[in-house]
């Protein structure tokens, strides 16, 4: 940097009036095929990033993020489960030497040693050699830790019925429905559908009829011909009654929106 007398500044600031040229550094004298980060390497990195992003977006599109029912602190039957990257700690606490009187072992000492060693690895493994075979203890400990974590995560996850859990804890929209028992279609609903679909269309042996994405014709068709495990001829009445029944179901659905 140019210093001393004769320096010119921009106004009364400390910015030098002399402009520096905006020229990239030359790497041709560097060893091997060194290249500039900007812009040469960044363009390639950008491509790798784009491929990664496409893969990531495919994952999010293929598997919508799960959401269970709203938290219910009174649900004593719920079996808690942490996110997958905490499963190994969760599993560790099930071992005899890490639970009961030995809980401290599981929650503090073992994870403390493992993560403490990870944090201080450069000071524990302070020899000059960088190659794995030059530091067998450090590499051995890391492999041991890695295998234990993978094993614990696997054992923990293998015992979980993931699909069963997702099915049992589906979110239920808390839609308020108006059941108009004066509606001309209600009598038909009571006689033909209520036993399986519930007094408030909330479902039972059959699925809930709230939040249907079906047209009137489709509902009428299902009532007469059945669908899936629902047998046909559940509704046996006149066409006029069928029309009233469908209108009733649609009215309730509209009230729920």
């Amino acid at each position: 940097m140019h210093k001393g007398k004769g320096m010119k500044f921009v106004g009364d600031s400390r910015i030098s009036a002399e402009r520096k040229p905006n020229i990239p550094k030359d790497y041709s004298e560097y060893p091997g095929r060194t290249e500039a980060f900007w812009p040469n390497f960044l363009l390639k990195e950008w491509l790798a990033g784009a491929v990664f992003l496409v893969g990531f977006l495919c994952l999010t599109l293929a598997h919508p993020s799960p959401l269970e029912g709203m938290a219910d602190p009174t649900d004593a039957a719920y079996i808690p489960l942490p996110d997958w990257y905490f499963l190994f700690l969760y599993e560790l606490l099930k071992y005899e030497f890490a639970s009961g009187d030995w809980t401290l072992m599981g929650i503090l000492i073992l994870p403390g040693i493992a993560f403490g060693a990870l944090l201080l690895a450069p000071f524990l493994d302070n020899g000059p050699g960088r190659r794995p075979h030059q530091r067998p203890v450090a590499v051995g400990m890391m492999l041991l830790g890695l295998v234990s974590v993978i094993w614990l995560t696997y054992t923990s996850a293998a015992h979980v019925d993931w699909e069963g859990r997702a099915e049992a804890n589906k979110p239920v929209p808390t839609a308020e429905v108006d059941i108009d028992t004066e509606h001309p279609g209600y009598a038909s609903y009571e006689n033909s559908c209520l036993a399986c679909h519930g007094a408030e269309l909330e479902g039972g042996a059959g699925p809930s009829l709230v939040g249907l994405d079906l047209s009137a014709e489709e509902i009428a068709d299902i009532a007469v011909n059945g669908i899936g495990s629902m047998p046909p001829d559940q509704f046996q009445g006149s066409d006029e009654e069928l029309e009233q029944l469908v209108d009733f179901i649609i009215t309730v659905n509209e009230s729920a929106e």
């Binding site: 921009v10 600031s13 910015i15 030098s16 402009r19 905006n22 990239p24 550094k25 560097y30 060893p31 095929r33 060194t34 500039a36 980060f37 900007w38 390497f41 390639k44 990195e45 790798a48 990664f52 990531f56 977006l57 994952l59 999010t60 993020s65 799960p66 959401l67 269970e68 709203m70 938290a71 219910d72 602190p73 719920y78 808690p80 489960l81 942490p82 996110d83 990257y85 905490f86 606490l93 809980t103 401290l104 503090l108 993560f115 990870l118 944090l119 690895a121 450069p122 000071f123 493994d125 302070n126 000059p128 050699g129 960088r130 794995p132 030059q134 530091r135 890695l146 804890n169 808390t174």
Partner: protein, 224 residues
């Protein structure tokens, strides 16, 4: 035109040296997958940062709809998931990103470890990196509660019970996190929200800045 704007600014605040400091650094041959395909292992760190950026952006959009209170938290997430245009994708990115970032972080850590890249003079940067790992796990733990569904609630309850068993400070630690000695409720949710959205990201940004500045000062480790 752009050049004129640049010159006008450069005239006044002399940004060229700052810009050259950021842009000018070399990529040695041994870390460049274009020359040695096996050098893709050097991408893990950059990809981790990429996922962190995805997390920040998707998280910012999620807070436009999310309401951190026990009556509405679940409702707002459900609304976002089912009614808001692309809400499912934005939440999906944040949800899966939380897992992917842990995976990438692990791969990056293993690359650095098995190459012995943390050896002198890079010990401090390894320590900063492991701290980033801890902050990331903290973000995962606090973020898990926010949708306020059953798995969130009960997992957090277990986590807080574990914190409670820490000797001497267990009770204080639990109260600090949950806002109450026994109840996991409204206070817990707002605290976890604050920790997830303000405290830990602030720590993360500071650590990331140190991590990157140290890499630029020391340069990337040489070939084995």
């Amino acid at each position: 035109m752009l050049q004129k704007i640049y010159d006008w600014i450069d005239d006044r605040i002399d940004i060229t040296p700052i810009w050259r400091d950021i842009a000018d650094h070399e990529v040695p041959e041994h870390v460049n997958p274009a020359h040695h395909f096996s050098a893709f292992v050097y991408c893990f760190g950059g990809l981790t940062f990429f996922v962190v950026v995805i997390q920040i952006l998707s998280g910012m959009f999620l807070t436009m709809y999310y309401v951190p209170d026990i009556e509405n938290a679940w409702q707002s997430v459900y609304y976002l998931q089912t009614e808001v245009a692309h809400g499912q994708i934005v939440r999906g990115m944040h949800h899966w990103g939380a897992s992917v970032v842990i995976v990438m972080l692990l791969l990056h850590t293993l690359r650095v470890f098995f190459q012995g890249a943390y050896k002198k003079p890079r010990e401090l940067n390894w320590v900063v990196g492991v701290l980033i790992f801890f902050v990331m796990l903290g973000l995962g733990f606090t973020g898990y509660l926010l949708p306020w569904d059953n798995k969130a609630y009960f997992a957090t309850q277990v986590g807080l019970e574990i914190a409670e068993q820490v000797p001497f400070i267990g009770m204080q630690l639990k109260t600090l996190l949950a806002g109450d000695a026994t109840i996991v409720g409204a206070q817990t949710l707002t605290r976890f929200f604050a920790i997830h959205v303000f405290f830990l990201p602030a720590a993360l940004f500071a650590l990331l800045a140190v991590h990157f500045i140290l890499i630029r000062r020391q340069g990337i480790s040489g070939p084995l």
